[in-house]
Amino acid sequence: MSAMPIRYLGWMTWDVVRGPGLGMVISGVVSGFVISTVTVVTTGSGGETAVFLSILDFTVTLFALLATAGMVSSDFAQGYYRTLFSRPMSPPLYYLLRWIVGGLAVLLAATLVGLAAAARVGAELPLTHVLLQASLLYLLVGGLVFVLSTFSRRDWLIGILVIAAHAGLGAARTFGFATSGIAGLLYRVLPPFGPVDMGEPAPRGVTLVYVLSYGLALVAAALAIIRFRPLARGARE
Protein backbone atom coordinates (compact mmCIF):
# COMPACT_ATOMS: atom_id res chain seq x y z
CA MET A 1 0.00 0.00 0.00
CA SER A 2 1.18 3.52 -0.75
CA ALA A 3 3.15 5.27 1.98
CA MET A 4 1.68 8.57 0.72
CA PRO A 5 -1.41 9.39 2.77
CA ILE A 6 -3.62 10.23 -0.22
CA ARG A 7 -6.80 9.67 1.79
CA TYR A 8 -5.68 12.35 4.22
CA LEU A 9 -5.81 14.88 1.38
CA GLY A 10 -9.24 16.17 2.44
CA TRP A 11 -8.05 16.96 5.97
CA MET A 12 -4.87 18.48 4.62
CA THR A 13 -6.82 20.73 2.25
CA TRP A 14 -9.06 21.78 5.12
CA ASP A 15 -5.97 22.68 7.19
CA VAL A 16 -4.58 24.75 4.31
CA VAL A 17 -7.93 26.52 3.86
CA ARG A 18 -8.23 27.33 7.57
CA GLY A 19 -4.58 28.24 8.02
CA PRO A 20 -2.71 29.81 5.09
CA GLY A 21 -5.99 30.09 3.14
CA LEU A 22 -7.31 32.67 5.53
CA GLY A 23 -4.13 34.71 5.17
CA MET A 24 -4.38 34.40 1.39
CA VAL A 25 -7.97 35.68 1.41
CA ILE A 26 -6.99 38.73 3.47
CA SER A 27 -3.86 39.52 1.47
CA GLY A 28 -5.72 38.75 -1.78
CA VAL A 29 -8.46 41.24 -0.95
CA VAL A 30 -5.90 43.91 -0.04
CA SER A 31 -3.90 43.14 -3.18
CA GLY A 32 -7.01 43.24 -5.39
CA PHE A 33 -7.87 46.61 -3.96
CA VAL A 34 -4.34 47.92 -4.54
CA ILE A 35 -4.28 46.53 -8.10
CA SER A 36 -7.59 48.15 -8.99
CA THR A 37 -6.66 51.48 -7.41
CA VAL A 38 -3.15 51.74 -8.84
CA THR A 39 -4.16 50.44 -12.26
CA VAL A 40 -7.06 52.85 -12.51
CA VAL A 41 -4.63 55.68 -11.67
CA THR A 42 -2.16 54.54 -14.34
CA THR A 43 -4.83 53.90 -17.03
CA GLY A 44 -3.99 55.68 -20.17
CA SER A 45 -0.27 55.70 -19.59
CA GLY A 46 0.00 52.30 -21.30
CA GLY A 47 1.65 50.68 -18.30
CA GLU A 48 -1.46 49.36 -16.58
CA THR A 49 -0.85 45.69 -17.45
CA ALA A 50 2.74 45.89 -16.22
CA VAL A 51 1.65 47.51 -12.95
CA PHE A 52 -1.15 44.97 -12.60
CA LEU A 53 1.20 42.03 -13.12
CA SER A 54 3.88 43.48 -10.91
CA ILE A 55 1.48 43.74 -7.97
CA LEU A 56 0.15 40.26 -8.75
CA ASP A 57 3.73 38.97 -8.71
CA PHE A 58 4.24 40.40 -5.23
CA THR A 59 0.91 38.92 -4.14
CA VAL A 60 1.73 35.44 -5.41
CA THR A 61 5.12 35.57 -3.66
CA LEU A 62 3.25 36.40 -0.46
CA PHE A 63 0.81 33.54 -1.11
CA ALA A 64 3.71 31.12 -1.58
CA LEU A 65 5.28 32.27 1.68
CA LEU A 66 1.95 31.89 3.50
CA ALA A 67 1.30 28.45 2.00
CA THR A 68 4.63 27.00 3.10
CA ALA A 69 5.60 28.92 6.24
CA GLY A 70 6.08 26.54 9.16
CA MET A 71 4.97 23.63 7.00
CA VAL A 72 7.45 21.17 8.49
CA SER A 73 8.96 23.14 11.37
CA SER A 74 5.75 23.73 13.30
CA ASP A 75 4.88 20.00 13.38
CA PHE A 76 8.29 19.29 14.86
CA ALA A 77 8.45 22.27 17.18
CA GLN A 78 4.99 21.54 18.59
CA GLY A 79 5.65 17.81 18.85
CA TYR A 80 2.72 16.86 16.59
CA TYR A 81 5.03 14.64 14.54
CA ARG A 82 5.14 11.98 17.25
CA THR A 83 1.59 10.77 16.81
CA LEU A 84 1.54 11.69 13.11
CA PHE A 85 4.54 9.59 12.17
CA SER A 86 3.64 6.63 14.32
CA ARG A 87 1.13 5.97 11.51
CA PRO A 88 1.89 3.88 8.44
CA MET A 89 3.12 6.59 6.11
CA SER A 90 6.30 8.14 4.87
CA PRO A 91 7.14 11.56 6.40
CA PRO A 92 8.71 12.94 3.17
CA LEU A 93 5.70 11.88 1.11
CA TYR A 94 3.34 13.38 3.70
CA TYR A 95 5.09 16.74 3.39
CA LEU A 96 5.34 16.47 -0.39
CA LEU A 97 1.58 16.07 -0.50
CA ARG A 98 1.17 19.03 1.82
CA TRP A 99 3.50 21.11 -0.39
CA ILE A 100 1.47 20.21 -3.50
CA VAL A 101 -1.79 21.16 -1.75
CA GLY A 102 -0.20 24.49 -0.80
CA GLY A 103 0.81 25.02 -4.43
CA LEU A 104 -2.69 24.34 -5.72
CA ALA A 105 -4.05 26.80 -3.17
CA VAL A 106 -1.59 29.42 -4.39
CA LEU A 107 -2.59 28.88 -8.03
CA LEU A 108 -6.27 29.06 -7.17
CA ALA A 109 -5.80 32.21 -5.11
CA ALA A 110 -3.64 33.83 -7.81
CA THR A 111 -6.30 33.07 -10.43
CA LEU A 112 -9.12 34.45 -8.31
CA VAL A 113 -7.26 37.62 -7.36
CA GLY A 114 -6.14 38.10 -10.96
CA LEU A 115 -9.62 37.59 -12.40
CA ALA A 116 -11.31 39.77 -9.78
CA ALA A 117 -8.82 42.61 -10.20
CA ALA A 118 -8.92 42.33 -14.01
CA ALA A 119 -12.71 42.51 -13.97
CA ARG A 120 -12.58 45.52 -11.64
CA VAL A 121 -10.21 47.51 -13.88
CA GLY A 122 -11.66 46.19 -17.15
CA ALA A 123 -8.38 44.66 -18.30
CA GLU A 124 -7.86 41.24 -19.82
CA LEU A 125 -5.97 38.78 -17.62
CA PRO A 126 -3.25 36.79 -19.44
CA LEU A 127 -4.33 33.70 -17.49
CA THR A 128 -1.95 31.18 -19.05
CA HIS A 129 1.00 33.48 -18.44
CA VAL A 130 -0.13 34.17 -14.88
CA LEU A 131 -0.59 30.46 -14.09
CA LEU A 132 2.76 29.50 -15.60
CA GLN A 133 4.67 32.22 -13.77
CA ALA A 134 2.77 31.56 -10.53
CA SER A 135 3.67 27.84 -10.78
CA LEU A 136 7.34 28.63 -11.31
CA LEU A 137 7.28 31.23 -8.56
CA TYR A 138 5.76 28.70 -6.17
CA LEU A 139 8.35 26.14 -7.21
CA LEU A 140 11.12 28.55 -6.21
CA VAL A 141 9.62 30.37 -3.22
CA GLY A 142 7.64 27.38 -1.94
CA GLY A 143 10.62 25.09 -2.53
CA LEU A 144 12.94 27.46 -0.70
CA VAL A 145 10.66 27.78 2.35
CA PHE A 146 10.10 23.99 2.28
CA VAL A 147 13.86 23.43 2.67
CA LEU A 148 14.17 26.15 5.30
CA SER A 149 11.23 24.69 7.20
CA THR A 150 13.10 21.44 7.74
CA PHE A 151 15.47 23.15 10.14
CA SER A 152 14.06 26.50 11.23
CA ARG A 153 10.82 27.89 12.56
CA ARG A 154 11.85 31.23 11.04
CA ASP A 155 11.60 29.66 7.57
CA TRP A 156 9.34 32.42 6.22
CA LEU A 157 11.61 35.16 7.57
CA ILE A 158 14.74 33.62 6.08
CA GLY A 159 12.75 33.17 2.85
CA ILE A 160 11.87 36.87 2.81
CA LEU A 161 15.51 37.79 3.45
CA VAL A 162 16.66 35.60 0.55
CA ILE A 163 14.06 37.14 -1.78
CA ALA A 164 14.99 40.64 -0.61
CA ALA A 165 18.71 39.90 -1.04
CA HIS A 166 18.05 38.68 -4.57
CA ALA A 167 15.96 41.75 -5.38
CA GLY A 168 18.60 44.06 -3.88
CA LEU A 169 21.43 42.44 -5.80
CA GLY A 170 19.32 42.44 -8.97
CA ALA A 171 18.69 46.18 -8.60
CA ALA A 172 22.39 46.78 -7.95
CA ARG A 173 23.27 44.87 -11.12
CA THR A 174 21.07 47.12 -13.25
CA PHE A 175 23.34 49.97 -12.15
CA GLY A 176 26.44 47.98 -12.95
CA PHE A 177 27.20 46.87 -9.40
CA ALA A 178 27.32 43.36 -7.92
CA THR A 179 28.26 41.80 -11.23
CA SER A 180 31.41 40.14 -9.91
CA GLY A 181 33.03 39.11 -6.65
CA ILE A 182 31.06 37.75 -3.73
CA ALA A 183 27.94 39.77 -4.57
CA GLY A 184 27.98 38.46 -8.12
CA LEU A 185 28.48 34.90 -6.94
CA LEU A 186 25.72 35.28 -4.36
CA TYR A 187 23.32 36.56 -7.00
CA ARG A 188 24.09 33.56 -9.18
CA VAL A 189 23.62 30.97 -6.41
CA LEU A 190 20.39 32.45 -5.07
CA PRO A 191 17.15 31.10 -6.57
CA PRO A 192 16.52 32.61 -10.03
CA PHE A 193 13.52 34.77 -9.13
CA GLY A 194 14.22 37.18 -12.02
CA PRO A 195 12.87 35.06 -14.90
CA VAL A 196 9.67 34.18 -13.04
CA ASP A 197 8.57 37.79 -12.56
CA MET A 198 5.01 38.10 -13.85
CA GLY A 199 5.84 41.38 -15.52
CA GLU A 200 8.45 39.60 -17.65
CA PRO A 201 7.90 37.14 -20.51
CA ALA A 202 7.77 33.53 -19.30
CA PRO A 203 11.21 31.85 -19.30
CA ARG A 204 11.99 29.52 -22.18
CA GLY A 205 14.70 27.13 -23.24
CA VAL A 206 17.77 26.95 -21.02
CA THR A 207 16.37 29.53 -18.58
CA LEU A 208 13.22 27.50 -18.09
CA VAL A 209 15.25 24.31 -17.55
CA TYR A 210 17.43 26.14 -15.01
CA VAL A 211 14.41 27.49 -13.11
CA LEU A 212 12.73 24.07 -13.09
CA SER A 213 15.93 22.28 -12.04
CA TYR A 214 16.58 24.79 -9.27
CA GLY A 215 13.03 24.50 -7.88
CA LEU A 216 12.94 20.72 -8.10
CA ALA A 217 16.35 20.53 -6.43
CA LEU A 218 15.00 22.60 -3.52
CA VAL A 219 12.03 20.26 -3.11
CA ALA A 220 14.26 17.19 -3.43
CA ALA A 221 16.63 18.62 -0.81
CA ALA A 222 13.74 19.17 1.61
CA LEU A 223 12.51 15.60 1.08
CA ALA A 224 16.01 14.19 1.52
CA ILE A 225 16.52 16.10 4.78
CA ILE A 226 13.21 14.79 6.15
CA ARG A 227 14.09 11.27 5.01
CA PHE A 228 17.61 11.03 6.35
CA ARG A 229 17.71 13.29 9.40
CA PRO A 230 16.33 11.77 12.64
CA LEU A 231 12.77 12.96 13.22
CA ALA A 232 13.41 13.66 16.90
CA ARG A 233 16.17 15.74 18.40
CA GLY A 234 15.94 14.18 21.85
CA ALA A 235 13.94 11.61 23.75
CA ARG A 236 10.95 13.93 24.11
CA GLU A 237 11.65 16.59 21.48
Binding site: Y80, T83, L84, S86, R87, L231, A235
Partner: protein, 304 residues
Protein backbone atom coordinates in the same frame (compact mmCIF):
# COMPACT_ATOMS: atom_id res chain seq x y z
CA UNK B 1 9.36 -9.64 17.10
CA UNK B 2 11.59 -6.90 18.58
CA UNK B 3 15.31 -7.46 18.79
CA UNK B 4 17.40 -4.87 20.55
CA UNK B 5 21.10 -5.63 20.31
CA UNK B 6 23.87 -3.76 22.15
CA UNK B 7 21.91 -0.55 21.79
CA UNK B 8 23.59 2.70 22.71
CA UNK B 9 22.53 6.29 22.33
CA UNK B 10 24.68 9.29 23.13
CA UNK B 11 23.41 12.83 22.89
CA UNK B 12 25.97 15.45 21.97
CA UNK B 13 25.74 19.19 22.44
CA UNK B 14 25.81 21.26 19.26
CA UNK B 15 29.56 21.78 19.32
CA UNK B 16 30.13 18.26 20.60
CA UNK B 17 31.82 19.36 23.81
CA UNK B 18 29.29 17.72 26.12
CA UNK B 19 27.93 14.21 25.76
CA UNK B 20 25.24 12.34 27.65
CA UNK B 21 24.97 8.58 27.36
CA UNK B 22 21.20 7.99 27.42
CA UNK B 23 21.48 4.27 26.64
CA UNK B 24 24.43 1.93 26.97
CA UNK B 25 24.69 -1.58 25.62
CA UNK B 26 21.01 -2.48 25.99
CA UNK B 27 20.03 -5.90 24.63
CA UNK B 28 16.53 -7.28 24.86
CA UNK B 29 14.32 -9.54 22.78
CA UNK B 30 10.55 -9.23 22.89
CA UNK B 31 8.48 -12.04 21.49
CA UNK B 32 5.18 -11.79 19.66
CA UNK B 33 2.28 -11.82 22.06
CA UNK B 34 4.40 -10.57 24.91
CA UNK B 35 3.76 -7.54 27.10
CA UNK B 36 7.00 -6.01 28.28
CA UNK B 37 7.21 -3.20 30.78
CA UNK B 38 10.07 -0.77 31.12
CA UNK B 39 10.73 0.77 34.49
CA UNK B 40 13.38 3.15 35.66
CA UNK B 41 13.89 6.39 37.49
CA UNK B 42 13.72 9.72 35.66
CA UNK B 43 16.47 9.96 33.07
CA UNK B 44 16.98 6.20 32.96
CA UNK B 45 16.57 6.13 29.17
CA UNK B 46 12.98 4.92 28.82
CA UNK B 47 11.85 7.70 26.48
CA UNK B 48 15.03 7.44 24.41
CA UNK B 49 14.41 3.72 24.01
CA UNK B 50 10.84 4.40 22.87
CA UNK B 51 12.00 7.07 20.41
CA UNK B 52 14.43 4.57 18.90
CA UNK B 53 11.75 1.86 18.80
CA UNK B 54 9.53 4.19 16.78
CA UNK B 55 12.40 5.20 14.49
CA UNK B 56 12.32 8.82 15.64
CA UNK B 57 15.94 8.57 16.77
CA UNK B 58 18.86 6.62 15.36
CA UNK B 59 21.00 4.63 17.78
CA UNK B 60 24.63 5.63 18.21
CA UNK B 61 25.68 1.99 18.55
CA UNK B 62 23.93 -1.35 18.17
CA UNK B 63 20.68 -1.89 16.36
CA UNK B 64 16.97 -2.53 16.69
CA UNK B 65 14.92 -4.74 14.40
CA UNK B 66 11.16 -5.07 14.48
CA UNK B 67 9.89 -8.07 12.56
CA UNK B 68 13.32 -8.16 10.95
CA UNK B 69 13.40 -4.59 9.64
CA UNK B 70 14.63 -1.27 11.06
CA UNK B 71 12.00 0.46 13.23
CA UNK B 72 11.28 3.35 10.83
CA UNK B 73 10.62 0.93 8.00
CA UNK B 74 8.33 -1.16 10.19
CA UNK B 75 6.38 1.90 11.33
CA UNK B 76 5.99 3.26 7.80
CA UNK B 77 4.74 -0.09 6.55
CA UNK B 78 2.52 -1.20 9.41
CA UNK B 79 2.08 1.69 11.83
CA UNK B 80 2.05 1.46 15.60
CA UNK B 81 -0.38 2.08 18.41
CA UNK B 82 1.63 4.74 20.18
CA UNK B 83 0.67 6.79 23.19
CA UNK B 84 3.29 9.45 23.92
CA UNK B 85 4.06 10.54 27.46
CA UNK B 86 2.62 13.94 26.62
CA UNK B 87 -0.03 13.97 23.93
CA UNK B 88 0.50 16.89 21.57
CA UNK B 89 -2.18 17.56 18.98
CA UNK B 90 -3.25 20.87 17.42
CA UNK B 91 -5.35 22.56 20.13
CA UNK B 92 -8.16 23.59 17.77
CA UNK B 93 -8.90 20.07 16.56
CA UNK B 94 -11.99 18.56 18.10
CA UNK B 95 -11.85 15.18 19.78
CA UNK B 96 -13.93 13.67 16.98
CA UNK B 97 -11.90 15.17 14.14
CA UNK B 98 -8.63 14.12 15.80
CA UNK B 99 -9.86 10.54 15.92
CA UNK B 100 -11.20 10.63 12.37
CA UNK B 101 -7.90 12.02 11.10
CA UNK B 102 -5.92 9.35 12.91
CA UNK B 103 -8.29 6.64 11.71
CA UNK B 104 -7.66 7.83 8.15
CA UNK B 105 -3.90 7.89 8.67
CA UNK B 106 -4.08 4.44 10.26
CA UNK B 107 -5.61 3.21 6.97
CA UNK B 108 -9.00 2.33 8.37
CA UNK B 109 -11.16 1.93 5.22
CA UNK B 110 -13.03 5.16 4.42
CA UNK B 111 -16.43 3.53 4.95
CA UNK B 112 -15.41 2.34 8.44
CA UNK B 113 -13.85 5.53 9.78
CA UNK B 114 -17.06 6.85 11.39
CA UNK B 115 -17.93 3.45 12.84
CA UNK B 116 -14.45 2.93 14.25
CA UNK B 117 -14.42 6.45 15.69
CA UNK B 118 -17.76 5.77 17.37
CA UNK B 119 -16.44 2.52 18.84
CA UNK B 120 -13.34 4.12 20.25
CA UNK B 121 -15.26 7.13 21.60
CA UNK B 122 -17.58 4.71 23.37
CA UNK B 123 -14.72 2.49 24.56
CA UNK B 124 -12.87 5.36 26.17
CA UNK B 125 -15.87 7.27 27.45
CA UNK B 126 -15.27 10.32 25.26
CA UNK B 127 -18.87 10.71 24.09
CA UNK B 128 -19.62 13.92 25.97
CA UNK B 129 -16.32 15.47 24.83
CA UNK B 130 -16.47 14.63 21.13
CA UNK B 131 -17.26 18.16 19.96
CA UNK B 132 -14.82 19.82 22.33
CA UNK B 133 -11.56 21.26 21.12
CA UNK B 134 -8.43 19.61 22.44
CA UNK B 135 -7.41 22.77 24.29
CA UNK B 136 -10.62 22.49 26.35
CA UNK B 137 -9.90 19.01 27.68
CA UNK B 138 -8.82 18.18 31.22
CA UNK B 139 -5.60 16.26 31.77
CA UNK B 140 -7.39 12.95 32.32
CA UNK B 141 -9.62 13.36 29.27
CA UNK B 142 -6.61 14.31 27.17
CA UNK B 143 -4.89 11.14 28.31
CA UNK B 144 -7.97 9.12 27.34
CA UNK B 145 -7.94 10.82 23.94
CA UNK B 146 -4.29 9.83 23.68
CA UNK B 147 -5.22 6.24 24.34
CA UNK B 148 -8.11 6.50 21.87
CA UNK B 149 -5.93 7.82 19.04
CA UNK B 150 -3.32 5.16 19.73
CA UNK B 151 -5.85 2.37 19.63
CA UNK B 152 -7.84 3.52 16.63
CA UNK B 153 -5.69 1.49 14.27
CA UNK B 154 -4.98 -2.19 14.59
CA UNK B 155 -1.24 -2.51 14.90
CA UNK B 156 0.87 -5.43 16.02
CA UNK B 157 3.15 -3.06 17.88
CA UNK B 158 1.72 -1.18 20.85
CA UNK B 159 3.90 1.37 22.63
CA UNK B 160 2.58 3.17 25.68
CA UNK B 161 4.66 5.80 27.46
CA UNK B 162 3.30 6.48 30.97
CA UNK B 163 -0.21 5.38 29.95
CA UNK B 164 -1.98 5.96 33.27
CA UNK B 165 -0.44 9.36 33.90
CA UNK B 166 -3.30 11.72 34.74
CA UNK B 167 -5.99 9.02 34.75
CA UNK B 168 -8.32 8.79 37.75
CA UNK B 169 -8.49 5.46 39.65
CA UNK B 170 -11.55 4.35 37.71
CA UNK B 171 -9.89 4.87 34.35
CA UNK B 172 -6.63 3.40 35.62
CA UNK B 173 -8.61 0.25 36.37
CA UNK B 174 -10.29 0.45 32.98
CA UNK B 175 -6.93 0.85 31.31
CA UNK B 176 -5.81 -2.45 32.82
CA UNK B 177 -8.84 -4.13 31.26
CA UNK B 178 -8.04 -2.50 27.93
CA UNK B 179 -4.50 -3.86 27.97
CA UNK B 180 -5.86 -7.32 28.74
CA UNK B 181 -8.29 -6.99 25.84
CA UNK B 182 -5.48 -5.89 23.56
CA UNK B 183 -3.41 -8.98 24.21
CA UNK B 184 -3.23 -11.29 21.22
CA UNK B 185 -0.67 -13.78 19.96
CA UNK B 186 0.77 -11.65 17.15
CA UNK B 187 0.85 -8.39 19.06
CA UNK B 188 3.78 -7.07 21.02
CA UNK B 189 3.18 -4.49 23.74
CA UNK B 190 5.75 -2.21 25.26
CA UNK B 191 4.76 -0.16 28.30
CA UNK B 192 7.05 2.38 29.97
CA UNK B 193 5.91 3.48 33.38
CA UNK B 194 7.03 4.73 36.77
CA UNK B 195 4.19 2.75 38.31
CA UNK B 196 5.66 -0.62 39.28
CA UNK B 197 2.34 -1.93 40.54
CA UNK B 198 0.87 -1.16 37.14
CA UNK B 199 3.67 -2.96 35.32
CA UNK B 200 3.47 -5.95 37.63
CA UNK B 201 -0.21 -6.34 36.88
CA UNK B 202 0.07 -5.86 33.12
CA UNK B 203 3.43 -7.04 31.89
CA UNK B 204 4.89 -10.50 31.43
CA UNK B 205 8.38 -9.15 32.02
CA UNK B 206 9.72 -5.85 33.21
CA UNK B 207 13.02 -4.42 32.03
CA UNK B 208 14.63 -2.18 34.65
CA UNK B 209 16.72 0.62 33.23
CA UNK B 210 19.03 2.74 35.33
CA UNK B 211 21.36 5.42 34.02
CA UNK B 212 20.95 4.10 30.50
CA UNK B 213 21.82 0.52 31.33
CA UNK B 214 19.50 -2.46 31.36
CA UNK B 215 20.08 -3.60 34.93
CA UNK B 216 17.80 -6.61 34.93
CA UNK B 217 14.72 -8.15 33.38
CA UNK B 218 12.21 -9.40 35.93
CA UNK B 219 9.32 -11.76 35.34
CA UNK B 220 6.08 -10.09 36.34
CA UNK B 221 2.41 -11.04 36.46
CA UNK B 222 0.75 -13.88 38.34
CA UNK B 223 3.40 -16.49 37.62
CA UNK B 224 6.33 -14.42 38.86
CA UNK B 225 5.53 -14.87 42.54
CA UNK B 226 6.44 -18.54 42.26
CA UNK B 227 9.96 -17.74 41.17
CA UNK B 228 11.54 -16.63 44.42
CA UNK B 229 10.99 -15.78 48.07
CA UNK B 230 8.57 -12.95 48.80
CA UNK B 231 7.75 -11.00 51.95
CA UNK B 232 4.15 -11.08 53.13
CA UNK B 233 2.37 -9.38 55.99
CA UNK B 234 0.28 -11.72 58.07
CA UNK B 235 -2.32 -10.49 60.55
CA UNK B 236 -3.79 -13.18 62.81
CA UNK B 237 -5.28 -13.45 66.27
CA UNK B 238 -4.45 -16.03 68.90
CA UNK B 239 -1.62 -17.37 66.85
CA UNK B 240 1.69 -16.09 68.26
CA UNK B 241 2.97 -19.51 69.29
CA UNK B 242 1.79 -21.22 66.13
CA UNK B 243 3.37 -18.54 63.95
CA UNK B 244 6.69 -18.89 65.74
CA UNK B 245 6.54 -22.62 65.06
CA UNK B 246 5.30 -22.53 61.45
CA UNK B 247 7.29 -19.49 60.30
CA UNK B 248 10.45 -19.48 62.43
CA UNK B 249 11.85 -16.43 60.61
CA UNK B 250 8.69 -14.34 61.15
CA UNK B 251 9.22 -10.95 62.79
CA UNK B 252 6.61 -8.89 64.55
CA UNK B 253 5.75 -5.62 62.78
CA UNK B 254 6.81 -2.70 64.95
CA UNK B 255 3.90 -1.19 66.86
CA UNK B 256 1.53 -4.03 66.02
CA UNK B 257 0.95 -6.96 68.30
CA UNK B 258 -0.88 -9.24 65.89
CA UNK B 259 0.97 -8.55 62.61
CA UNK B 260 4.04 -10.39 61.36
CA UNK B 261 6.40 -10.24 58.43
CA UNK B 262 6.90 -13.66 56.92
CA UNK B 263 9.27 -14.57 54.12
CA UNK B 264 9.26 -17.57 51.85
CA UNK B 265 8.28 -19.01 48.52
CA UNK B 266 4.58 -18.87 47.72
CA UNK B 267 4.19 -22.65 48.05
CA UNK B 268 5.85 -22.64 51.50
CA UNK B 269 3.69 -19.75 52.65
CA UNK B 270 0.55 -21.56 51.49
CA UNK B 271 1.53 -24.68 53.42
CA UNK B 272 2.30 -22.59 56.51
CA UNK B 273 -1.06 -20.81 56.32
CA UNK B 274 -2.81 -24.17 56.18
CA UNK B 275 -0.98 -25.31 59.30
CA UNK B 276 -1.83 -22.08 61.11
CA UNK B 277 -5.52 -22.37 60.36
CA UNK B 278 -5.48 -26.03 61.35
CA UNK B 279 -3.88 -24.97 64.65
CA UNK B 280 -6.86 -22.72 65.33
CA UNK B 281 -5.39 -19.34 64.33
CA UNK B 282 -7.79 -16.78 62.86
CA UNK B 283 -6.09 -15.23 59.82
CA UNK B 284 -7.28 -11.63 59.47
CA UNK B 285 -5.24 -10.67 56.42
CA UNK B 286 -2.36 -11.94 54.33
CA UNK B 287 -0.88 -9.65 51.69
CA UNK B 288 2.47 -9.05 50.02
CA UNK B 289 4.41 -6.35 51.81
CA UNK B 290 6.23 -5.33 48.68
CA UNK B 291 6.27 -6.95 45.33
CA UNK B 292 9.21 -8.83 43.97
CA UNK B 293 9.40 -6.23 41.22
CA UNK B 294 9.69 -3.45 43.77
CA UNK B 295 12.48 -5.31 45.53
CA UNK B 296 14.27 -5.93 42.23
CA UNK B 297 13.80 -2.32 41.20
CA UNK B 298 15.24 -1.05 44.46
CA UNK B 299 18.15 -3.44 44.22
CA UNK B 300 18.84 -2.45 40.61
CA UNK B 301 18.71 1.27 41.27
CA UNK B 302 20.70 1.05 44.50
CA UNK B 303 23.27 -1.13 42.77
CA UNK B 304 22.78 -4.21 44.92
Amino acid sequence: MIEIASLGKTYRSLIGSRTVAALQDVSLTIAQGEVVGVAGPNGAGKSTLISILLGFLQPTTGQVRIAGVPPRRFVERHGTSYLPELLLLPPRWTVESALQRHATLARIPAEDVSKRTEQIVEWLGLGEHRKKQIRQLSKGTLQRLGLAQSLIGDSDLVVFDEPTHGLDPLWTQRFRDIVRELRRPGRCMFIASHDLDELERLADRVAILHQGRLERVVAAGAGSAEEGPVVYRLAASGAAAAIARVFPSATLVEGRNNEWRVRGRVAELNRGLGELIAAGAVVLSFAPESSRLEAEFRAAVEGR
